[in-house]
Structures are given as structure tokens and as C-alpha cells.
Symmetry: C2
Subunit: 272 residues, 2 copies
């Protein structure tokens, strides 16, 4: 803030812990945010950790209209979780948006100090991973309506999953293989997507691959055997070995998959 | 660039026209980019305007692997159009990513000079409009596979469109009505989503509404009669009256809807 903008009240310090507001009981889209917070070593609270399903009660006020009273009136109403609250100033939603905010703040956009456009390259990678390897897997069990049960759209799910493992999954993995083999990804001996250093897009792709391996183990095993995702799987293993990520994955904070985005249904576990 | 970063070569000037690289023959996702460029009064070329379908030949090299040789090696391979090229330095894809890049450059993020977080609020609004009122309408005619014809997924499309007009469309419109009624949208007599001034999210919402009105005229008419989208439609009309947008919409550069995201199928034109 400068003296030239007296109309806007001083903003509170951002040196406060983050609050992640998300449904309890499943990793969901909240998991992409958690991985970035964990890798950054950031202090945060997580409504998913509240006892007795209290997390749901934390989410609802945000998406049912009214924002909590402490919020800056510049904050718009929110559509859906994950939601990130940071101090009294900022309440954000939209997964790729929160990821960009955190990535810029926590040094997870390689090369940004030399090239401010780096953020748009990393943002595009994260958006593409979320489109193809999070939203599309979700639609494999909910191709008709998010408001219906899977059991009410099983036949359509079967068709969609067949197309996903045969066409879409190889296409998206092939894209990330090309990215990982490109000059933009850095030297050959670094496993990361951009600039030879870990970016938040790597964490997003890690979580996508983890979920897809859980949901479609046969298809992923086949693509691995065929050498179609060698670099992507090397990135996946490299993320797992990051000390803070490794500690997180071994902790109770890491939730098991259940009825969220990535689900295991035997009839959808196709080889492709 | 500063002297402290000699390893990176000097970047070329950004005072060059933009190039929009997109499929010819349909407005598609390219249209969101065009509206921002038009409102900004930016100089740009558009492969959709190339004669004899030459636009398709312009798109393919970008998404089939190799980037054109003039590009900065920091650019990653691209997944899909729309693609924005800016000078020799930058080639970007992902619609919301290009929109953010342009919005920041062209003063289409209200209040940014006072509050750098404004960009994340506007980005979230644009992402939510694209999710609910662009991607979901697309999936109403392609719920199973983008690689199949509509005719091969008609029954599933019928179910998906029924859910969309009944559940999803009112939900997303209701959300934007709440945003438009919030303090964050500015004074009551301004029609915009954020900060009392036009943002690129307004242009995104305009195009979404234009497409949804084309695809689902009965549902939109009903929601209008019921007063469920009064503020959204006021925003829609206000965007239409922006001088540069008005000139653009009246020009031959504005393409007609065809076999793209927003399509008219009588059997999907449900009232909800």
C-alpha cells in the first residue's frame, strides 16, 4: 500500500497461517492445495482435520451465500471448495487459482525472477493436468450429472471410461512426456516439467498420476510396460522422494481415496 | 531484465501485435480471447481469418509436437488451441491462462494497482464461468467422448442436457447473480462482476451467456421470466454496448456458431 491510495484501508499482514476449507473424508481437489502447502513448509489449518465431520459445516457458509464477517468486502462470493483463506483479506476459490497464488508466493514457479512470464507457462501445465487427469477421470464415473449417484449412470460411465483409457489418458500422458523431453523442462537429468526445478505443476501432476493409478491400475500398468509414460512416472517417483512430501504421505494427514474424484470400480478398471 | 541476470538473453519487445492461433470456422474458445483483444483495442492477427481454411494448418504444428523455430526455448510444448503468440518470446495455451495474461496487461483487472490480489478474484470468476457455462454446455452434446460425433452419444446427451438446464444452469446463474449483488462487485448502479469496472471476467461471462442463449433459448427465457438472471442479463447487455465490442459484434470478424461448443439441437433445447 502507498500513500497515494488512502481510500483502501491498510491490509493485514500475510504472515498468518493459511486456512484450507474443504470437505472432510476424501482427498478431492483439496489435495492439490495440501501438497503445495506441505512442500512449501507453510503453516496451515485444514477443515478436513476437524473432528466428527465438522469440516462440512465449515464449508457450507462459504458456498451458501454469505461470507464470514471477518472477510474483506473485496472478496466475491465463492462457488465451491477448495477454498483458501489467508488472513482477513483474502478468501479464494478455484483450484488452479489457489495453486497459482500459492506457487507465486512460495517459490514454486521456477525462473520467475528472470522471467515473469514463467508463471503463465506453469499455470498452463497445471490447468492441462487438472483438465485431463482430474476432471476427465471424475467424469468417467459421473458423465451425466454430478447430482446423481454413480449407480444411476453406470452404462454411460462404462462408455466414457472406455474412451478415457483408450484415447484420452494416452493423449494427456503423451503430452506430458513431450513437455518433460523439451528444452523448457531443463536439463535431461532433472525430472521436472519446467525450468529444471520443482514447480507446483509437478505436484499437481504427481497427484493426478497417483489418482489415475488408483482408479485405472490396469491401463497405467499397460502404458508403463509400453514405455508410454516413462518420464511422467519418473517425475511421480521424484515428487514422492521430496522430504516434506514423503513425510506428508506417511502421515495421517494424507487421506485415503474414497467417494471423491478418483474411485476404484472394478468394471471401469479397463486396460485400454 | 537486469544486469544481474546475464544468463538469460534479452527478451524481444512486447510492442508487437498478438497472434491468435485457433481453428477456423467456429467461435469456440478462441472467442473469449478475441473479445479481450477487441475490448483492449490491441493489434492482433487471427488464424481464423486466413483464407480457405488455412487456419487449421496454422494450428497443427503447435499441438503436434514441435514449436515454430522462432520461439523462445523456455516455451513448453502446447496441448491445444486457443494459442496466443506474443513476439518471439511467448507462446501460451489454456484459455483461462491466456485471459489472465491479457487481462493483466490491458487494465482488465479492476483495482489491481491498489490490491495485487484482485487478479486472483477475477481469475476465479473467469474460471467458474468457463467451467459451468462453457465446458458443461460442451459436454451436453459430448458427454461420452470428444472424439465421437454427437449422433453417437445422443441418448447420453439428452440426459446430460436435462440435468444441465434443470440443475446446473440455474446454479451457475444464481452464483453470478450473488456475485453481481455483492459489495465486491462495486456500487449498485454498475453492471460489472468486480470492483465496479469492466474486467475480463465480464467479457467471459458475456460470451458464455451469448452461447447458452443460442444453445438453450427456452431455458434462458424461462429463467429470465422468473427473474433468476436479471443482473447477469444486464451485464450481458452492458457488454454489448461497449463501443469496441459493439463494433466487433457488428463486423465480419464475429463468427456464427456452428459445430463448436455452443450448438443448437432442437431436442436439447429444453425448458428445465
Amino acid at each position: 500500500m502507498t500513500e497515494e491510495t488512502p481510500s483502501k484501508r491498510p491490509r493485514s499482514s500475510k504472515d498468518v497461517p493459511y486456512e484450507l476449507i474443504y470437505w472432510p473424508g476424501l482427498p478431492g481437489r483439496g489435495e492439490f492445495i495440501r501438497l503445495v502447502l506441505e512442500e512449501a513448509g507453510a503453516a496451515y489449518t485444514d477443515t478436513a482435520q476437524l473432528p466428527d465431520g465438522g469440516g462440512a459445516a465449515s464449508v457450507l457458509p462459504y458456498i451458501q451465500g454469505a461470507l464470514p464477517p471477518a472477510s474483506d468486502p473485496s472478496n466475491t462470493p465463492l462457488f465451491a471448495p477448495p477454498i483458501l483463506k489467508h488472513g482477513d483479506d483474502l478468501v479464494l476459490n478455484q483450484t488452479p487459482n489457489i495453486l497459482l497464488y500459492l506457487g507465486l508466493r512460495h517459490g514454486l514457479v521456477p525462473g520467475l525472477h528472470n522471467d515473469p512470464d514463467a508463471q503463465f507457462r506453469v499455470n498452463a501445465l497445471a490447468l492441462t493436468a487438472l483438465d485431463g487427469l482430474c476432471n476427465e477421470p471424475h467424469d468417467c464415473h459421473h458423465p451425466i450429472a454430478t447430482g446423481l449417484y454413480y449407480e444411476d449412470q453406470k452404462a454411460e460411465s462404462q462408455r466414457r471410461a472406455e474412451d478415457f483409457v483408450k484415447e484420452r489418458l494416452p493423449k494427456f500422458l503423451g503430452y506430458f512426456e513431450r513437455v518433460l523431453g523439451s528444452a523448457a523442462s531443463g536439463k535431461e537429468d532433472t525430472p521436472w516439467l519446467y525450468g529444471g526445478e520443482l514447480s507446483y505443476a509437478d505436484l499437481v501432476l504427481f497427484q493426478c498420476i497417483d489418482g489415475v493409478k488408483f482408479m485405472f491400475p490396469k491401463a497405467m500398468a499397460k502404458l508403463d510396460r509400453e514405455g508410454k509414460c516413462t518420464r511422467v512416472l519418473a517425475l511421480y517417483e521424484a515428487v514422492k522422494e521430496r522430504p516434506r512430501i514423503k513425510a506428508y504421505l506417511g502421515s495421517e494427514r494424507r487421506q485415503k481415496y474414497s467417494n471423491g474424484i478418483y474411485r476404484y470400480y472394478e468394471e471401469l478398471d479397463l486396460e485400454g
